[in-house]
Symmetry: C2
Subunit: 343 residues, 2 copies
């Protein structure tokens, strides 16, 4: 069977390959172990610049918010006032970039994370994402909106208050261009959403499905790179979260909660990851080919303290993984749906 020997798998969304080395988990580990932060956080931290009513590093003060809350990032990587400039000299080429960066607090409660928030609270987060996507897409020069969350300090999160970010910008980033190209090609060839066809195949095979509810499925994609990478996708063809109705929003919130609970239960820790929603660019094209999805890239491999490093070979050659997507899906599927901190 191909699954036991080293092989490469094709990613239908990017047109790229991942190297899979299933036999490699046996190797000994004398390398880095992460420190685990197990201290329970208070519901309010006077030193947190994201808690309600607190003053941020910039001097601005947060509202006394009681649901999800968004504001423009004080240290935005992209700015809306950037003057148009093109730099070109011989082989060098640069161009100015405009954008808007926002912070999205998921909850006023400093101690929470998505898996331990109530489903209704997560629904409100999804509604805020949706409103932000709609509003930012109205800004004439914004052609792409990236909603994401960096969870845990291993993932570069600079503040444990439950929050994510939105970076909206003029250009369409590479990861999104690759997916647009692949989906468009399939759409033009078959008049079908690539991810819907893929989902159909996965729902028949049942080898990589983790969870399913009325409107959404969560699975480990065949071409997953990160050990416990997962994708959440709507069963129906939807180009963006803008197209979700109340009932679908509830279903989406539920599957986010259920997946992240299993993540926390995997190693009995607050499971770190970067998650992001890939959806139709807002560049004026109808993007009928787009099928939105939310991906989770979690770094942990062996335990709460030992992660997979995407370094040398992965930086210079191709992504590489040790366990197979099927093993990861099997493990995640087998875990309890009740959060490990709840007796």
């Amino acid at each position: 069977m191909i699954n036991e020997n080293p092989h490469r798998r094709y990613n239908i969304l990017t047109g790229e390959w991942v190297l899979v080395s299933p036999h490699r988990t046996k190797r000994p580990w004398q390398g880095k172990e992460e420190k685990q932060s197990i201290a329970k956080r208070p519901s309010y931290d006077p030193n947190c610049y994201l808690c309600p009513g607190n003053t941020r590093a910039s001097g601005a003060t947060n509202l006394q918010y009681d649901g999800p809350y968004s504001f423009v990032n004080d240290f935005s990587a992209l700015l809306s006032e950037t003057p148009k400039e093109v730099f070109s000299e011989g082989l060098l080429k640069g161009v100015s970039e405009r954008g808007i960066c926002k912070v999205v607090c998921f909850s006023p409660d400093h101690s929470l994370t998505l898996p331990i928030m109530k489903v209704e609270e997560i629904q409100n987060v999804v509604k805020l994402w949706k409103r932000e996507y709609e509003e930012l897409s109205e800004v004439s020069y914004i052609n792409h909106i990236q909603i994401f969350e960096n969870k845990g300090d291993v993932m570069g999160c600079s503040n444990p208050h439950p929050h994510g970010q939105i970076w909206a910008q003029e250009s369409i980033p590479l990861e999104v261009s690759k997916k647009t190209e692949q989906m468009k090609k399939y759409w033009l060839d078959t008049n079908q959403s690539l991810l819907q066809a893929y989902l159909k195949q996965e729902l028949e095979a049942r080898e990589r499905i983790i969870l399913e509810n009325d409107h959404f499925v969560s699975l480990v994609p065949y071409w997953a790179i990160w050990p416990y990478e997962a994708m959440i996708l709507p069963k129906e063809h939807k180009r963006s979260i803008k197209e979700l109705n109340e009932e679908e929003i509830a279903s989406f919130a539920q599957i986010i909660k259920d997946l992240t609970i299993r993540y926390d239960n995997l190693f009995n820790c607050s499971f770190p990851y970067s998650a992001g929603i890939h959806q139709a660019p807002t560049d004026g094209d109808p993007h009928e080919e787009w099928h939105f999805h939310m991906s989770f890239y979690p770094p942990l491999l062996r335990s709460a303290t030992v992660k997979k490093f995407m370094v040398g070979y992965e930086m210079f050659a191709d992504p590489q993984r040790d366990i197979t997507a099927e093993q990861a899906a099997g493990t995640l599927k087998s875990l309890s749906t009740v959060h490990y901190t709840i007796e």
Copy 2:
């Protein structure tokens, strides 16, 4: 000036873009700090599976080697005995992959690193790399040879003994394919090496050059992603390290030492990085377009303990950096050429 506002820069080697946000270094950091290992290591560690004469996890015993030493990785991600298999079912596509993974110990002395090794010792490392590249390219099914080093536990290095790795394989990895395509296009258009033309421009501009000696230059590429990323490239057009003569090998070893000393002097620590040599694939094509180079991707940004995280936005959208390539080159250039541990 474009360098002060958010902008994107084009990478001539990959055809991709990086987002640069020069104003962003001011943001406060309450995130992860790495633990610094400052304990001096002994020259011999009885528990190290790379020290001369020691028995490895696999049960094999290292020779009593006294210079650089290579052997087949006990936990190789790629194996030469992999049977040929193709997996294809609907949208799923996989294919078996053959290869050879080697470990290259740089020195028998457990306590050393490249910047504190003697130039003559580094020359021997380069000679071993060259021999490995030559020998592995003789294996009929090997079409690409990736030589790399993961230095420091932050870079997933599982053993502090000075060593690197070689992963040789059937397929040509994505990073190399992208570069081959860009170099080939330029070669066919102009009958010139892309990197040689680029180097000429850099040597005139003198804005991103860190170091230079008889045969090599070290610079921060215009499109660098990592904060203190650097590239070492030969002044003459050489497709691979196979084409280096004795004098050029000495020059290469010297510039590796000089660059890594400055790295250590940047934050007064043993500077972590992944380094890799990109060179002509060994697939039978003459690859006249190829201009070999060694790249260093170091994660540290602010200090010995605070690194740049390539997470959320970078995973889902585009790579992003805070300081400009020119700032990084200026800083690296200004540092002492004497290692900070030497009084």
